[in-house]
Amino acid sequence: MHPVFQPRSAYAPRAGYCLLPLRLGHLDGNTYIVTNDVGEYVRLERDELVAFVERRLAKDTNAYRTLKSRHFLYEDDSSVAFDLLALKYRSRVDRIAEFTGLHIFVVTLRCDHSCQYCQVSRQSEDVTQYDMTEAHADKALDLVFRSPSERIKIEFQGGEPLLNFPLVCRIVERAQELNQRHRRDLQFVITSNLSRLSDDVLSFCHEHGVYLSTSLDGPADLHDSQRPTRGGGSYQKTIDGIHRAREVLGPDRVSALMTTTPRSLHRVHEIIDEYVRLGFHGIFLRSLSPYGFATRSLVKRYGVEDWLDFYKRGLSHILRINAGGYLLREDYTTILLQKIFSPLGSAYVDLQSPAGIGIGALVYNYDGAVYASDEGRMLAEMGDQTFRLGHVDQEDYEALMTSEALLSSLSDTMLEGSPMCADCPFLPYCGADPVFHRATQGDAVGHKAFSSFCAKQMGVLRHLIGLLETDAEARDILLRWV
């Protein structure tokens, strides 16, 4: 039998096409973005968008081919797009079933620093009544292993956790003992200013595989002015701690975070260069959060636009550093890139829908109270107990995780059902933040037209999409961060 080759016309696209679920929004000028539930996006000019929606987009155009390949339209003779969208969506939300992986122990409120932007009611070093008790720590650990998550991270916060180091040791050792039975992938992190980093602490961290996370706000004068400590020299203490930790634990076992204050706004290059000088390969250009009495006054001293300008200049500088051959990621940008390009999205607790409170992270406060998030605990220090789920002495795991405080906050704030968010093209790259909106608007859902969280997200994402689409060199660098 001779093979029969069909004419070219047999392989041409069918006459019609149908839309697949999408969201659309304005980017800039005459340019729009369409996205779908699995994070694919396409930039279109408005006339292309209107033609596409009205089903008269010509099939021989680049726009048509791109929309088809990224699952924004389907033709009558194929259902492959449905299968692929379903598969990708399931992959993207699969982590929700993992449940709570981050467990924060506030082992003390005592601290030896007086940071200007402190988000907790820190106490002086000699007031031990603000330390977690062993009994509460043990009960909290029992709750930790009730989570079905295969990956458990226990994070120690304060105050300054190293001021209650004996309890940190007890929790680590007991967790590892319990883990002989539970067999989870277990990780420990101590968040510390490193001023109390003794040889004993380093030895323990080395023996038990404990990571360290610290704060570094930039050059010495900036860091010292924002993070004062008795006797001065907070910067030098932190730097010494970083070096000693690397010597004992290894270069990748200590990380640092910065916080943007009004003093930081015009010094972003210096801050970034400080991280490079110290050999870090990541920096998180983190804005102030609206928690804590001191922070409230600072937040009012700069607006979203100020921070966006800081971020854009910082990212530009970071891209130049990468172009020069030194790897330095901006961590928040990396999270967003993962949401855009990775089939699994990002595990970042603060950018999830449903929100990461409770089901992504739980906080066990020094007094035994359990909170849905660290920010929820901070809010409680300001008198708002909305996100307090219960107490380790009173509620079991089921009661905590099915409490109205948690479930209503999660369901009410899902982006897919929130005004403005439900239609927003950036939904796949964003997350619900009920604590932020409760703190700033008195309502967990929040009116997004007035939300600085929303304004920040939109500003960053518009900028990032713009770079990806218009700057080939920047795109190449950014994609290496995913």
Partner: protein, 116 residues
């Protein structure tokens, strides 16, 4: 869409801190108008009035310090947003059942994780 015209020939008239106009609901869905109003809330309060046949009265009320040029710009953006919302409604109507189908397909074989 009908607009109140002023002697200046501008498409809208800014009077007493407000701009009033009517929207033809044969061209725009009511939901699109409502969503545009919600999205613009930080810049103006959109007072949605009576529906008369196919006409909907809308008044944009501005904060006290808003000047005429700023108000006119907000009105322009409002109508741009209204056009976008209309597109969204059109897309939503066409794809709502498909979204449900895709989600059902995604989780049709989902396994509920065991209790820890």
């Amino acid at each position: 869409m009908k607009t109140t015209r002023a002697d200046t020939g501008a498409p809208f008239a800014f009077r007493d801190g407000r701009i009033a106009f009517t929207v033809d609901l044969r061209a725009y869905r009511l939901a699109a108008v409502q969503k545009a109003a919600y999205r613009m809330a930080a810049k103006c309060t959109a007072v949605i009035g009576q529906i008369d046949d196919h006409s909907l009265d809308v008044t944009l009320a501005f904060p006290p310090a808003t000047g005429e040029q700023a108000a006119l710009e907000v009105a322009r953006v409002f109508f741009q947003e209204l056009l976008d919302q209309e597109l969204r409604e059109k897309v939503g109507e066409e794809t709502v059942s498909l979204r449900t189908l895709i989600l059902a397909h995604a989780f049709s074989r989902a396994r509920i994780p065991p209790r820890g």
